[in-house]
């Protein structure tokens, strides 16, 4: 199994541009998550999904959107990129909710907005 795969690995955006960060998992996990990681800070939850067609906001959802049309894929959309969105983004999945099973993370997308 490849686990959780994220693309691209790196991206530079200009202010106001938009992009989609891709995430796919091959473990047949129902739960998927998007986190951002800023230097010296813990991971912050952006959005999560408990199954295809169901998404919900996390701690820091502003400026982002998600969709979950299949079990495998959970893309994160940035509209009107801002410098505050410069961060490393991690997608994760789990067999059940975060209160009962560990998350499996991808290797991240490093995004710079200038």
């Amino acid at each position: 199994n490849a686990g959780v795969t994220q693309t691209p690995k790196f991206r530079i955006l200009k202010i106001g541009q938009s992009m989609t960060l891709q995430c796919t998992q091959d473990m047949n996990h129902n739960y998927m998550y998007w986190y951002r990681q800023d230097p010296g800070m813990g991971l912050k939850l952006i959005y999560y999904s408990v199954g295809a067609g169901i998404t919900d906001k996390g701690e820091v959802p502003n400026g982002y959107n998600v969709s979950r049309s299949t079990t495998e894929d959970f893309p994160l959309r940035l509209e009107l990129a801002a410098p505050s969105q410069t961060s490393v983004y991690f997608c994760a999945s789990s067999y059940s909710g975060q209160g009962s099973s560990p998350l499996h993370f991808g290797n991240g997308t490093r995004l710079t907005v200038t």
């Binding site: 959780v4 996390g58 991690f90 009962s100």
Partner: protein, 111 residues
């Protein structure tokens, strides 16, 4: 949000020694705790977890201790190896579908 802190931001140990990484959590309602290891340029990797009805759990070369009285979590790594050099995060789940992560401790193993 929840506060999950670490006593030490960096830790250096000699190869072969045991390492202890500490973590303080703030929410007494948290019932699930996880330790992750993150190597440079990679995503966090699950190490070990523990539920609040336990005070100790052992894995391969790792042990997690949970002290609910003082809201303290620790990760012990036996016979630390150079490959253990990484940032280690603790995370707590106080209920609902969210984990709260600490800022991490950087472990450096000196050959």
């Amino acid at each position: 949000g929840e506060s999950v802190g670490l006593h030490l931001p960096t830790l250096s140990v000699q190869e072969g020694d045991n390492s202890i990484i500490n973590c303080a959590y703030s929410n007494s309602a948290s019932d699930y705790f996880i330790w992750y290891k993150q190597e440079s340029g990679k995503g966090p990797q699950f190490i070990i977890d523990i539920r609040s009805n336990m005070d100790k759990r052992q894995g391969q070369r790792v042990t997690v201790l949970l002290n609910k009285t003082v809201k303290h979590l620790s990760l012990q790594i036996a016979a630390t190896q150079p490959g253990d050099s990484a940032v280690y995060f603790c995370a707590e789940n106080p209920g609902a579908n969210n984990l709260f992560f600490g800022t991490g401790t950087r472990l450096t193993v000196i050959p």
